[in-house]
């Protein structure tokens, strides 16, 4: 490239490189987490059997709570970042992009909190 990048452009490039890397790593982890979760909840057990009693028994083991919390956080981050890129690609008006991304981040943050509270406070 002929012209040197401004520090703002460079930090944007760095961010996108890390986002690319994050999508690969989180994607690989989610490959196992999401498919194992789907298998346990819909094939090994029937969905009508996954009652509060079922969850209570399962969450006696803190590792399953960690498993579900990882699925929650990585799912939101991976999906949220994916949707951020989709918005950048298809929404042409800058003000609409800002609005949609602000909505996305707020909803993702709120649901991250809701999910984390659910996992931590359930007895």
């Amino acid at each position: 490239m002929a012209q040197a990048l401004s520090s703002r452009q460079r930090s944007r490039q760095n961010f996108e490189t890390w986002a690319w890397f994050f999508m690969r790593i989180s994607g690989l982890i989610l490959f196992f987490l999401a498919l194992v979760h789907m298998f346990i909840m819909h094939i090994e057990n029937d969905v009508t059997q996954t009652t509060v009693a079922f969850v209570a028994k399962r969450w006696q083991n803190p590792w399953w709570r960690l498993f579900d919390w990882l699925l929650l956080s990585l799912g939101l981050l991976h999906g949220g970042n994916g949707l951020r890129v989709v918005i950048d690609d298809y929404v042409k008006r800058a003000s609409s992009r800002t609005f949609l991304k602000a909505t996305l981040y707020s909803v993702a943050a709120a649901l991250f909190l809701l999910g984390t509270i659910t996992i931590l406070t359930f007895r």
């Binding site: 490959f31 999906g79 999910g115």
Partner: protein, 124 residues
């Protein structure tokens, strides 16, 4: 020149890409709904009622659709990672796409059988 000849139709890579985005978007929307339904855990009546509802035939078919979206997105994601990591893979990306799509369809049919079956014959 006819109108259709000016529309870019792409090749397998483009279809793999579009399907990856659509399935990713659908799975993400489901995650949002799912976090809300699980948050009713501290109200057992509501939580159990919702999970009985998930057992009706329409939501079971929806779950089969979700399984396909998840499987396709996961398997095509592996394909994307392989293309990123190993330059030689791009030569076989079409075959790899066909393989991943077929595997997703086969696993959806197998899994779908187990998801829909209890509606007709009951659980176990």
């Amino acid at each position: 020149m006819s109108k259709s000849s000016t529309i870019y139709k792409g090749k397998t890579g483009q279809w793999a890409f579009i399907l990856h985005r659509v399935t990713g978007f659908l799975v993400f929307l489901f995650i949002l709904l799912h976090i809300i339904d699980v948050s009713t855990l501290n109200d057992p009546t509501v939580y159990n009622a919702i999970h009985q509802l998930y057992g009706n035939i329409f939501l079971r078919l929806f779950e089969v659709g979700l399984l396909f979206a998840l499987l396709y997105h996961a398997l095509n994601g592996l394909r994307v990672i392989m293309i990123d990591l190993w330059p030689g893979v791009i030569k076989n990306e079409k075959a790899l796409f066909q393989f991943m799509l077929s595997l997703a369809i086969v696993l959806t049919l197998v899994g779908g059988y187990f998801i829909v079956k209890p509606f007709f014959v009951g659980v176990h």
